[in-house]
């Protein structure tokens, strides 16, 4: 099984490079185009949350991204050293409300849950978070 890690600067300009790394790994793992896009979007939403919320768009922080081919798909592990944040604590997005009442909360985390087969979060002792996303081959 192939496993590769890259450390990226923890800023919004890294999002494209992170996506390229994840998409290439997903292709190598044999995911179809729809599943690759789902993974790309979930990882982008996760990293955007880290950069904007855990790091507050400040400082010389890093995001470590590991892509690992597994038997039935791909596992992506994203590590940061920012504020502890459990996605389960995020506000739920509003769905089906009228346009005027719509507020931009919780959509990224909701999308991750809907698009991925597994989403697991853990705190790193001493600071930081580990987010694990699993996308399996569609049958």
């Amino acid at each position: 099984m192939i496993k590769k890690s890259i450390e990226f600067p923890g800023n919004l300009e890294s999002l494209q490079a992170i996506s390229q790394f994840v998409v290439q790994s997903a292709k190598s793992s044999g995911l179809n185009d729809a599943d690759i896009y789902a993974l790309e979007l979930a990882v982008d939403e996760a990293c955007t949350n880290i950069i904007e919320h855990a790091y507050g768009c400040q400082g010389d922080n890093k995001i470590n991204c590991t892509c690992e081919s597994v038997l039935d798909g791909i596992k992506v592990i994203i590590k940061d050293s920012g504020c502890a944040f459990d996605p389960k604590d995020a506000q739920k997005p509003q769905i089906g409300v009228c346009l005027e009442e719509l507020k931009s909360r919780g959509v990224g985390i909701y999308l991750m849950d809907r698009l991925m087969d597994e989403v697991n979060h853990a705190f790193i002792p001493g600071g930081g978070n580990v987010l694990t996303l699993v996308k399996r081959h569609s049958v």
Binding site: Q16, D33, Y37, E40, L41, T48, S104, V107, Y110
Partner: protein
Amino acid sequence: MEYTITPHKRCNVITLVGRVDGSTAPSVESALKMVLAENMYNIVIDMTDVDFMSSAGWWVLIETQKECKKSNKGEVVLVNVKEKIRSSLNLVGMDTYFKMFDDVIDAVGSF
């Protein structure tokens, strides 16, 4: 991410090219604000050449739609949204806030 703005008689067409994520969504926002600053509220967004759009991009479109629809001043409509992007919009119900067209001419003609 690049954009062009093409004025028409009853609307403006904004053509986006590339990837819209947290780092490029502010460029899209700038383009839309430029149009709104001219009191032009009928906007066609051509997404034929957009291969990726995260929620950061959607929120820019949503906030612009709110502004345009306020007091029925106008509307944002979308053209050629790729199926993979449309599917993710559907997941969070955001597709319901926009009319979608397959062709720029039809979208322009709707105003």
